[in-house]
């Protein structure tokens, strides 16, 4: 594997639920609950999962846009730190999921280089990462011309160029005047917009055009890592294909890593190298893309894949329908959080929480019956059939 760009450990984000007359805290929404995530340089990691399962929150936490409740985040950790972290991690999770003890929290939080804690690191880190928000309307300042919307991050951070400065940091240049205009124009044309668009306001665009503007703004500063939150969901297929191939080119050129949050599995399959499946704030399955689509093991992943709509009106499918209600993240089910809707659930599922285990090489699943599912399904039908349901 290539070099690690980001490593997040034990990340939790709980939002308080206020209520009553006095605005007391009644409980917490467990938006992200004990997630470990590694992002490698230049890869595309896809994140899928039900609405409200914490994808956006996870994206914001790994970019340090909101403070996590607990957890540590490391930018380009070196080998020795790595092993230390791994050890810490295995210690922490050995007892199953539980509240962290005070001293354990302390270890995590004092580990040097934790981005959440070091102000100096924070600033440097933030100039290297970008996000494209899920809702392009609210993320573009309505009073700014598009030209300025795109120029703003360049003004603040400059553009990285070859070489390093005296402090060993990436060299950056600040563009001005004509050079800046030309630079912006190039990016905008690549996104399929044109010169006149630069002198308009965000509300004068269609949904898809705004989304492209948001992407243009993010890639303008050539970041090392971009979180793309549903970046193509407002785009029609032809423009979507255009943007996806543009993103791919950029990746090859600048070795930028993407975290691609989307519910569109076809897009995930087309662009990402690795996929994380989330359910109610937890990672339930993680594997390389081809592996995941060929051998989806977690019952939730199987249901997801079987529910993809197919552009053919004659097509008849056998969908795995998820029965039961979507549980609330404020009060997640005990044991395996999926057990209320799972077709394989047995007694143990409601009492004991399954841990992430490696079932096939590089393919981790959190399910008590992962091995059985893999075996029985492949014996009965050849597990490939599951992904073929969707075809």
């Amino acid at each position: 594997m290539s070099e690690i760009l980001l490593k997040g450990i034990g990340i939790r984000k709980y939002f308080p639920i206020r209520g009553g007359v006095s605005g007391r805290t009644l409980g917490y929404v467990h938006a992200v609950d004990d997630v470990n995530i590694t992002i490698y340089k230049g890869e595309t990691i896809g994140v899928v999962g039900e609405s409200g399962c914490g994808k956006t929150t996870l994206g914001r936490v790994v970019l340090d846009l909101i403070d996590p409740t607990t957890g540590a985040l490391f930018y380009k950790p070196n080998e020795s730190e790595m092993s230390q972290l791994e050890q810490l991690y295995s210690e922490l999770t050995s007892g199953g999921a539980r509240e962290l003890k005070k001293e354990e929290k302390k270890i995590l939080n004092t580990t040097k280089d934790n981005i959440y804690k070091s102000r100096r690191k924070k600033k440097d880190f933030r100039s290297r990462v970008q996000i494209v928000f899920q809702d392009p309307v609210s993320s573009l300042d309505p009073r700014m011309l598009i030209k300025d919307v795109i120029f703003e991050p360049i003004k603040i951070n400059g553009i990285p160029v070859e070489g390093e400065d005296d402090n060993g940091k990436q060299k950056r240049v600040r563009l001005r005047g004509d050079a800046a205009t030309k630079y912006i124009l190039d990016i905008v044309t690549e996104m399929g917009l044109n010169e006149d668009h630069l002198f308009r306001f965000p509300h004068e665009f269609s949904g898809g055009q705004r989304q492209r503007i948001a992407i243009a703004r993010a890639i303008a500063v050539k970041p090392e890592f971009i979180v793309l939150d549903e970046p193509t969901s407002a785009l029609d297929v032809s423009v979507q294909a255009q943007i996806l191939s543009l993103l791919k080119n950029l990746q090859q050129k600048y070795n930028v890593a993407y975290m691609f949050i989307t519910h569109n599995l076809a897009v995930i399959r087309a662009v990402s190298t690795r996929v994380i499946v989330m359910y109610l704030g937890k990672i339930v399955e993680e594997a390389l893309t081809d592996e995941l689509f060929e051998y989806p093991i977690h019952p939730y992943t199987q249901a997801l894949i079987s529910a993809i709509p197919v552009p053919d009106p004659n097509f008849k499918r056998s969908r795995i329908v998820l029965s039961g209600d979507v549980p609330s993240p404020a009060n997640p089910p005990s044991g395996c959080r999926f057990h209320t809707r799972c077709r394989f659930a047995k007694e143990i599922c409601s009492t004991e929480e399954p841990k992430l285990k490696e079932i096939r090489t590089g393919h981790v699943v959190a399910c008590h019956f992962a091995e059985d599912i893999l075996k029985t399904e492949s014996e009965r039908t050849g597990i490939k059939k599951i992904s073929e349901i969707a075809i």
Binding site: S51, V137, E204, S206, G207, S245, A307, P309
Partner: protein
Amino acid sequence: MNKLVGEALVVKDLKTQFFIYDGVVKALEDVSFILKKGEVLGIVGETGCGKSVTAYSIMRLIPDPPGRIISGQIKMGDYDLIKGMDQEVDIILKKRPKIRHHNKMIKKNEYLYNKIRGRYISMIFQEPMAALNPVFTVEDQIVESLYLHSKTKILRVIKSASEHISDLQSFKDKGGITSELSGEVGVELQKIKIQKKGFESEGKHLEMLIDEATKYLAKKNKYDEMLKESIEVDSLEDSLFGNIGEEERARILKVLSKEAKKSHLTRLTKRLKKRNPDPVISEARREAFGLLESVNIPNAFQILKNYPHELSGGMLQRVVIAIALSNDPQILIADEPTTALDVTIQAQILELLRDLRKNRGTSIILITHDLGVIAEMCDRVAVMYAGNVVETAPAIELFHNPKHPYTIGLLQSIPRIDDPTKKLNIIRGTVPNLIKPPTGCRFNPRCQFAFDKCTVEIPPTIETSEGHTVACHLFSGKEVR
């Protein structure tokens, strides 16, 4: 009159433009289509081709300035929704070339249109955040919409509840809805049961209903009177769409605008804040709760108290869907209703739309770029390109026998889950600038079949087979427009 025969909405030669600093954005150029009663019509097309502007024009929500509906017809029954508007534009074009507000006229129309917008046409917006008000809770926003548009229904339910109050009480004591009731309240209970959220939620609903019924009985005369008035207003509104003379229509409009003014928002906000709300408001709250449950939002009771920014993208979208469905509209315009939703919830929402059509005969315009959704949902599809409708056909026909070169390109560019190795196909070139659109066929600079005629002459719309029309010089046949 049979409910499912005929046209729910006829859009003819619609032309909408935006007057901005750089020039005139010719967003829609003679857009025509028909929405039949009880059908789902899909609209697809590249981003920026005018799908949302079409929807906004129908809803009359084009921001003005800089936007204007220049000409065309949007007819519901015999009522042309933009007729009044036409005159405004006339005045403006004759006397002053500049775009100006005609405040009085616009305002008068506005009140009225507010009413038409909930009860007859409602819309699911593409960008949910823009459709919601950030300073009000989700609950207040749904209650507001219900209060403005469904007062009759709400009062009916409470009245019927007050007649069955003892039954409700016994359900509550027994711990569940055990038998069916007659009347409106029975229908409501049936709905609650279908949502199957267990007794906790059933209990909440029952408790609220009993409370409202008690209040109703306490001031029975007052509320009965209120119901009577409300029914009168509704029937007056309904008559607008029939074949009545212009004078009669003008008279009704006058009465209705007064009525609309009466229930205007500022007063409502005050009422919402009251500790001890009247039964209409608390029934609206109960329905809001039920609506969120019906779009499958977990923990609905708590989510009601949240502000929009505290919800995830998909939840917001479902809240907007809930608001659009709250008043049982006759026409629903859904602009990318499922973009922020994962496939499993998308499937549930599509099911909801299907039910709506089946049970209430709602006609739906479904705007989406997801051809998979189109294939699953739509009876007919209209393909738009740069402000024109270039092809319309029954869904199956469109997928198997696309005619217009743009449609063909569109169908080829779908990333397929079954064949990830297939290179993503791209229609070459970019969407044209709508300030200076290409002459002739607007698709000609990107079309691989373009020949000389294409650059000079606008292609007529041709019917190639029953119900399949295409606007392209490659085809010849009966001209329909």
